[in-house]
């Protein structure tokens, strides 16, 4: 396979003075733009032959109108040559490696031989660098002594001439500045053959062309002047700079002709060099940037191209689109995960093109009659524009003076209208930064009141969205093909499985997990009305048989409630998040797991076990994973909708809250915690005294100081953990933070320990705090105090409150985390940019190979194994255990 066009070679060259003159249509000699009557000066910077920017006028050169005329170059003849800043490196190299007199390369034949091209490949020539030529040698061709050439930023070159004094034998060094004219002369002397050895093609890039004698003046279309509201003309930055150049050039020439003293000539020359330099690049090192009258640095040629908002990254790679909307997002758990709520105002503004046919003409007439203003949600959608087959576009105008009714009568098959959005239209929904493909997914819209986009909280993880003011973008596909792709490839349900780890990325979060945990943990019995309350909003078509009947009253179990939303052929066996890893595990005993942490699902019936993060959480979701494999993505989407609704009902049935008194402990616990911490601090003090007496046994490979630090860290860490244990023993499953930590909904046992027990040791880079003042962290401690409290051990809890020193230490430890995240995001952002630039055009070809656009093979089999990671089982090609268990319906 070959691509249709292949680049054979690219030639980079310099514009020669002749080329510049040939392409020029006008020699610009006046620094003025427009006269008082608003007409451009002939031979001025806005000469009409340079192109047209005013509508209605015709170009003097090509006769075309504005928009068609591309503009034409002019030129300025410089009074004296001036160095081009972009080529100072090249000039420096050439001056250093060629003879100052004869211009030959300062290498003899044998040396050149080493560098010459291999016979078969002219491009393999090793180009000669500055380091290959020894400094201050003698020219092998003419015998001229060479001198050191210093380059001074931004554009001057100095030759250091060293002469050995015959009488004293000392070397005397004198610096001699090389003028641009000298440099140009030297560059002219370099022979074509020598240039080829240096990898320069003299036909397209003679080095003396890097010293400008003629300056091209870009067409006016490149630097259009704008007319302000007050009728004043405001010129482009480039024009301003060109005015400066011409003005100085003129003065220079006058002084030169009048035979001005050398000093004045040199000053003017330097000034001309400065203006040309800043015209080309206004951010050169060692050169103050040219400024606008307001003090703003001018945006000159190089600035137009460079950087994020430059021509390449800003204008060519970056695109803006129509049919897009952006607003704040907010949650709506009643929407399906595949839907998005769109404000009416946005739905009225955005449109989808529809072709009028015999079949739909009446519907479309109705839309046109409604026109551009759909008053309420319940109204059918209207239309904003009507496009006639002849290309004319009619804007629909509402109201009695509007044209809606007349246009509605005019339409016939073949016309197209721009219909407003309505429920069920498919749109792309996106949140920046778009780091993975799930950052853009397609949703079906639901038009809503209000001003925000609404989305189901369960789709937050793939977008990494929350509702603290996040905004998201929405795009409306305009063609049938785009809509088909949006539906089949980009839909939310098609992206439940993440290609990142081959497991669902969408799933329950926070309250969903707490709720389903509360519902399914242990065994609970519900009456019919409670059972129906739980499952009111799920798609249950038939009540299951009651689990037990007591005194003629039927009861349904909590496990039955969950089983309702499961497909009937799911069989799974696994440990839930709340498993405590008891040893030995008692899951197979008569009584079963005491925590109810072993999940058994047979034929869609939850027999035992608790449903928590492992089962339904985002990025875990083992059940969801199985449902996708068994029943496909749509069933999985419905399951997520059912699950979120059931879990929220479940959490509402019990109620779930958290307050300051949820961290309350008894008197007994407080005493225990105090004892543990006192013990830990006295142990630490004891360790320190052993160390100070020099009796501490160092660990292998460590100094006694390091050993002490490590032992103190682990000792104090253990003390913190023990306070946590004391606290959690007191707080049971009726405590919300325990429920959240055990079920995996949010937070951890450590967080709880820090709230109720003890915050513990603060650390920077894994070590106790030690910096600050001389031999101490704060002036509150004695110098050299190695005790726990003096090095960042916080013995209080968040609830009991911190002492001032503890607070300070905690802030130190907290800052490290903040700095880490700040550094990581910027670094990973840059990594991402480079990765995308490197990989953006690769695709998997039909033969399974990964190829670049040139048909070059990158991988012979995609990912070495040809597996779609989204279809893998958490990275493994086949989920043997899962398949076997679901067939055998028993644990293996």
């Amino acid at each position: 396979m070959t691509s249709p066009k292949r680049i054979g070679k690219i030639e980079f060259g310099l514009l020669s003075p002749k080329q510049i003159r040939d392409m020029s249509v006008c020699k610009v000699i006046w620094p003025d733009t427009y006269d008082d009557d608003g007409f451009p000066y002939p031979k001025g910077l806005m000469d009409p032959s340079l192109g047209v920017i005013d509508p209605g006028l015709r170009c003097k050169t090509c006769g075309q109108k504005q928009g068609d005329c591309p503009g034409h170059f002019g030129h300025i003849d410089l009074a004296k040559p001036v160095i081009h800043v972009g080529y100072t490196r090249l000039i420096r190299k050439l001056l250093r490696i060629t003879c100052r007199d004869c211009g030959r390369l300062l290498l003899d034949k044998e040396e050149i031989e080493k560098f010459s091209a291999l016979e078969d490949d002219p491009y393999s020539a090793e180009t000669i660098g500055e380091k290959d030529v020894k400094k201050e040698r003698v020219c092998p061709y003419c015998g001229e002594q060479q001198y050191k050439i210093n380059f001074e930023k931004p554009t001057s070159f100095v030759e250091v001439i060293s002469v050995v004094d015959e009488n004293t034998g000392k070397t005397i060094k004198t610096e001699q500045k090389l003028t641009s004219a000298d440099i140009r002369e030297r560059l002219e002397r370099i022979t074509d053959d020598d240039l080829r050895l240096l990898g320069i093609d003299p036909d397209v890039a003679r080095p003396e062309w890097a010293v400008l004698t003629v300056l091209p003046v870009p067409p006016v279309t490149v630097r259009p002047s704008i007319i302000l509201e007050n009728g004043q003309r405001s010129e482009d930055d480039l024009t301003h700079k060109l005015v400066d150049i011409i003005r100085i050039n003129q003065r220079f020439r006058e002084n030169q002709d009048a035979g001005a003293p050398q000093l004045i000539i040199e000053d003017l020359w330097e000034l001309l060099q400065y203006h040309v330099t800043t015209y080309l690049d206004n951010e050169v090192a060692g050169c103050p940037p040219a400024r606008h009258r307001s003090g703003r640095p001018l945006k000159t040629l190089s600035q137009r191209l460079k950087g994020k908002d430059g021509r390449f990254r800003g204008s060519l790679s970056g695109k803006r689109v129509n049919f897009s909307a952006r607003t704040v997002i907010s949650p709506d758990p009643n929407l399906s995960v595949g839907e998005v709520g769109v404000p009416l105002a946005i739905a009225n503004e955005m449109s989808v093109p529809v072709r009028v046919t015999k079949q739909n003409i009446e519907d479309i007439r109705a839309m046109i009659r409604i026109g551009p203003h759909r008053p309420t949600l319940r109204d059918p959608c209207g239309a904003n524009y009507v496009n006639r087959p002849d290309g004319r576009r009619i804007r629909l105008i509402a109201g009695p003076e509007g044209n809606c009714d007349t246009v509605a009568e005019m339409i016939e098959p073949g016309w197209k209208i721009d219909r407003q959005l309505r429920d069920g239209d498919i749109v792309l929904f996106n949140r920046q930064p778009s780091l993975h493909r799930m950052s853009i997914m397609s949703h079906r819209i639901k038009v809503m009141n209000g001003r925000t986009f609404r989305l189901n909280p369960a789709v937050c993880p793939p977008y990494n969205a929350d509702f603290d003011g996040d905004e998201m973008n929405l795009h409306v596909p305009q063609t049938e093909e785009a809509r088909a792709e949006a539906e089949l490839l980009v839909a939310v349900q098609e992206n439940i499985l993440s290609p990142r780890f081959g497991a669902p990325i969408i799933g329950g979060l926070h309250d969903h997990i707490s709720g389903i945990f509360i519902l399914t943990n242990q065994t609970k019995w519900y009456t019919k009305s409670e059972f129906l309350y739980l499952l009111k909003y799920t798609k249950m078509d038939k009540m299951p048989e009651p689990g037990k009947i007591v005194d003629g009253v039927p009861y349904w179990s909590n496990k039955q409630a969950f089983s309702v939303i499961l497909p009937k052929d799911v069989s799974m066996f696994y440990k839930a998040t709340c498993c405590q890893n008891c040893n030995p595990c008692t899951k197979d005993s008569e009584a079963g797991c005491p925590n109810d942490a072993f999940v058994r699902i047979v034929d869609g019936e939850l027999l035992c076990g608790t449903i928590d993060k492992k089962s339904v959480g985002a990025m875990d979701g083992t059940i969801l994973n199985r449902i996708i494999r068994l029943h496909g993505t749509r069933r999985a989407r419905d399951y997520i909708d059912d699950l979120t609704k059931l879990s929220i009902r479940a959490i509402m049935l019990n109620g779930f809250s958290y307050g300051i008194n949820d961290t309350d402990l008894g008197k007994n616990e407080h005493k225990q915690i105090r004892d543990v911490l006192d013990q830990a601090e006295s142990d630490a003090a004891q360790k320190i005294s052993i160390f100070e007496q020099g009796h501490l046994e160092p660990m292998p490979g460590r100094t006694p100081e390091e050993t002490l630090e490590l032992q103190l860290m682990s000792q104090l860490g253990k003390a913190r953990d023990r306070t946590g244990d004391i606290a959690s023993r007191h707080l049971g499953f009726e405590n919300s933070s325990v429920v959240m930590a055990v079920s995996g909904a949010r937070g951890s046992m450590l967080n709880m320990a820090q709230m109720a027990g003890c915050i513990g040791q603060q650390a920077v880079r894994g070590e106790r705090l030690s910096r600050g003042y001389e031999d101490r962290t704060l002036p509150h401690f004695k110098r050299g105090d190695k005790g726990a409290g003096a090095h960042g051990f916080v013995r209080n809890s968040y609830k009991s409150g911190l002492t001032p020193t503890e607070f300070f230490f905690h802030a130190i430890g907290g800052r490290e985390g903040l700095v880490d995240t700040a550094v990581r995001t910027s670094q990973s952002g840059y990594l991402q940019r480079r990765m995308i630039n490197a990989l953006q055009d690769l695709k998997v070809a039909y033969d399974g190979t990964v190829r670049s656009t040139g048909g070059k093979i990158i991988q012979f089999v995609y990912g070495e194994d040809g597996t779609d990671p989204a279809k893998s089982a958490s990275g493994q090609p086949v989920d043997v255990k899962g398949i076997a268990e679901s067939v055998l319906k028993e644990e293996i």
Partner: protein, 82 residues
Amino acid sequence: MTRLNVLLHEMVPDHQIMTGEEVTDLLKTFDISEDQLPKIYHDDPAIKACGGKPGNVIRIIRKSQTAGEATSYRLVVRRPKK
């Protein structure tokens, strides 16, 4: 000083120089020209050890966690100077 043969190291995959016939076959199966193959420098330690010369095509057989064995092919090219 004993020189280490990198090919014997556990983490260096098997490098084989392909015959001309094998190369034509390879290019035919993937419908590519030689310059569309991935490349490897002539002074790569593994190429130096197996004796590959610029223009040779090397078959590299790697162990793969998921696929068992993964084969890829590389064209030996001269490292451009500098």
